[in-house]
């Protein structure tokens, strides 16, 4: 279905109600702890209607926006990642029995999730994570179970944060794939496109009518305006080579003098996948669980083996993170690990901006 539909704002309530009736757990941006995060949405009023956020390196504030704007907040610290790649989950349960033990996989709690208000960068990040966890040979069953039935309703960005740079990464501001429905918010209506059979079905069930040509044009113009007005950019034309060649660039010492190695950037990053699995044993010693938790390449233990720590210095760990994200990720997975969402810039307590670091490394490069 290549057609666009007209959805009066009042129909959003109907859409949310329909998804709950169809036994989806509906999640959308919800104002929480001074930011927004994907959380349960029962009705439109659960969404941050009338809010806008302001973002800059190391700073995030939620404030008032246009009264009727439903999706005025571009993004918050929370991405879609925790819903598929869980921050902490039990993978296996092992039970001692006589002289052996049994191993059982703990099936993931996998409710059918419907996301409303996912951004183009969020969808791009999900596609990046799919390449890691839905590998042909080593399929991560826990990730796959949650991913399988997820319904994704995207919101095209008509406004960007100063930290956004999705245009540079080719991931936004318009959602072009990986969605069931994509909405563009206008004053009193949404322009809706379907991206799947499931999306087509929803369009029929809530009886959307085709959008008028001028509505489609106006919606596209808003997205276009958002793209052309984006303030932040990153030149990726010489990656991965630039970072491979510049492993000894003096800028790494400079950034290391500011970086706290706090792991915030990796926690808010929608693609970072490092994790560890630890044993959590019952007190009687007869049962143990293998529990997976997010890990970070900024932790001191990350590259530690007996007697050797391969990256003991912050300089080396920041370099690993940035080189992996922007360069070696391409060799490993055929895609950049960065989608340009800007979360690592906003949520860095000292405001380190990777686009600035890359530009500085390029400006200082030893080889031309």
């Amino acid at each position: 279905m290549n057609e666009s539909f007209h959805m009066p704002k009042g129909k959003l309530e109907e859409l949310i109600a329909l998804l709950w009736r169809e036994e989806f757990k509906v999640l959308g941006p919800v104002a929480r702890d001074g930011s927004v995060a994907f959380d349960e949405v029962r009705r439109v009023s659960d969404l941050p209607v009338g809010f806008r956020e302001s973002q800059e390196p190391g700073r995030y504030r939620l404030g008032a926006g246009a009264a009727d704007e439903v999706f005025g907040v571009v993004n918050g610290a929370g991405s879609l990642k925790p819903f598929f790649f869980a921050p902490e989950e039990t993978l296996l349960e092992l039970q001692l029995k006589q002289r052996t033990f049994t191993v059982s996989e703990v099936p993931p709690a996998a409710p059918r999730l419907a996301f409303i208000g996912a951004r183009a960068c969020d969808l791009a990040a999900l596609a990046v994570q799919d390449r890691i966890f839905l590998h042909d040979r080593f399929r991560d069953t826990h990730y796959a179970a949650r991913r399988k039935d997820a319904l994704l309703i995207a919101i095209n960005c008509t406004r960007s944060a100063p930290t956004c740079f999705c245009v540079s990464m080719g991931t936004g501001p318009e959602a072009t794939s990986g969605f069931d429905l994509a909405l563009t918010e206008m004053e009193d209506h949404f322009v809706v496109r379907s991206g799947s059979d499931a999306g087509d079905t929803i369009v029929q069930k809530i009886a959307l009518t085709p959008a008028a040509e001028e509505q489609v044009v106006a919606a596209s113009a808003r997205i276009e305006q958002c793209a052309s007005g984006m303030q932040r950019h990153m030149d990726i034309s010489d990656l991965p080579r630039l970072l491979y060649e510049e492993a000894e660039n003096p800028r790494w010492d400079d950034v290391a003098s500011r970086c706290l190695s706090c792991t915030n950037c990796t926690m808010v990053c929608p693609t970072c996948f490092c994790h560890t699995v630890v044993d959590v044993q019952e007190l009687d010693g007869n049962m143990s669980q293998r529990v997976r938790k997010w890990d970070s390449c900024f932790s001191l233990e990350h590259a530690h083996i007996h007697g050797i720590n391969f990256r003991p210095r912050i300089r080396q760990r920041y370099r690993q993170w940035l080189t992996h994200k922007l360069a070696s990720w391409i060799d490993q997975f055929g895609t950049s690990g960065c989608v340009g969402c800007g979360r690592c810039i906003t949520w860095c307590p000292v405001g380190i901006d990777l686009t600035e670091e890359v530009a500085a490394i390029r400006a200082n490069r030893s080889k031309h």
Partner: protein, 276 residues
């Protein structure tokens, strides 16, 4: 399909002390079907699991032609291996694998094989040497070079003596800090190279400290051996063994699944750069 982290119980069938703090365990999967279907190649590793404690990667030292019996040599190095050192015959432990790419055996057929190891890095090559001995006619001369810090670090001493007596095989041993009992060479392993009589057509397989392997590769190239004929087995933190946990990354390489064995050509620009 199970999680990549699925663990399979295996029973310890024998335990041997190699030297203080180093033990070789033989084990068999409890599940008879798995015992029949499991296959591995020399140089691959398993993740071994101590109940309630954790997992560690361990190279498989036994012969790939007898895949029902797995042997692992474990050195006490940390929290998990300290528990493993207490494993008894008859005890059930956890295994998953095999992982990694193994040694380039096919490329070695018909050629002289040079094996260079340093310190405790020799465990992954024991399986390789045994493999070659069982198919001796398929390979050229075997040159085994091994360096240890002190004579006490020499593992498998009787195996080296056994290998030394075998036809078309030369064993060169060296130590940094000799004692009175030591009657081999003194110095680092690369100092053995003046005696090494391997032709430029030889293939080299190495395991040990990276600085040793890097210097050795440099010397071997001067002997006319090309970058595609020199292989190194790397050690990194490995937790998942399938390239999803992120710990073992060496720039674009996942050591666990792209390695642990790499050609010198693949690594030469990375080796020696600290903190990569």
């Amino acid at each position: 399909m199970a999680t990549p982290y699925e663990i399979y119980p295996a029973r310890i069938t024998s335990r041997r002390t190699e030297t203080a703090g180093i033990y070789t365990f033989a084990m068999k999967f409890v599940d008879p079907e798995l015992r029949r279907s499991y296959r591995f190649e020399a140089g691959q590793f398993n993740m071994l699991y101590a109940f309630g404690v954790g997992e560690v990667p361990m190279s498989i030292v036994s012969d790939p032609s007898e895949p029902a019996l797995l042997e692992h040599t474990i050195r006490i190095a940390g929290r998990v291996t300290r528990v493993m050192a207490e494993w008894k015959v008859g005890q059930v432990v956890g295994v998953r694998g095999p992982y990694g790419n193994g040694w380039p055996i096919e490329k070695a057929r018909g050629r002289d094989v040079v094996i260079i190891t340093g310190g405790l890095g020799c465990a992954p090559v024991v399986g390789l040497v045994n493999y070659i001995f069982r198919r001796r006619g398929e390979f050229g001369d075997l040159h085994i070079l091994h360096g240890v810090k002190t004579p006490n670090d020499l593992l498998y001493r009787e195996r080296f003596d056994q290998w030394r007596r075998a036809p078309r095989t030369r064993v060169y041993l060296t130590t940094d800090r000799p004692d009175k009992s030591w009657h081999y060479r003194i110095g680092v392993v690369t100092e053995l190279f003046d005696e090494l009589a391997a032709p430029p057509s030889a293939i080299v397989m190495m395991c040990g400290p990276e600085v040793m392997m890097r210097l050795a590769a440099h010397s071997l190239r001067q002997k006319g051996i090309d970058d595609d004929s020199i292989y190194l087995s790397l050690e990194r933190r490995m937790e998942c063994a399938v390239g999803i946990c992120g710990h073992c990354q060496y720039r674009e390489h996942f050591v666990c699944k792209d390695g642990p064995v790499f050609s010198y050509r693949t690594l030469k620009t990375l080796l020696g750069q600290p903190g990569i």
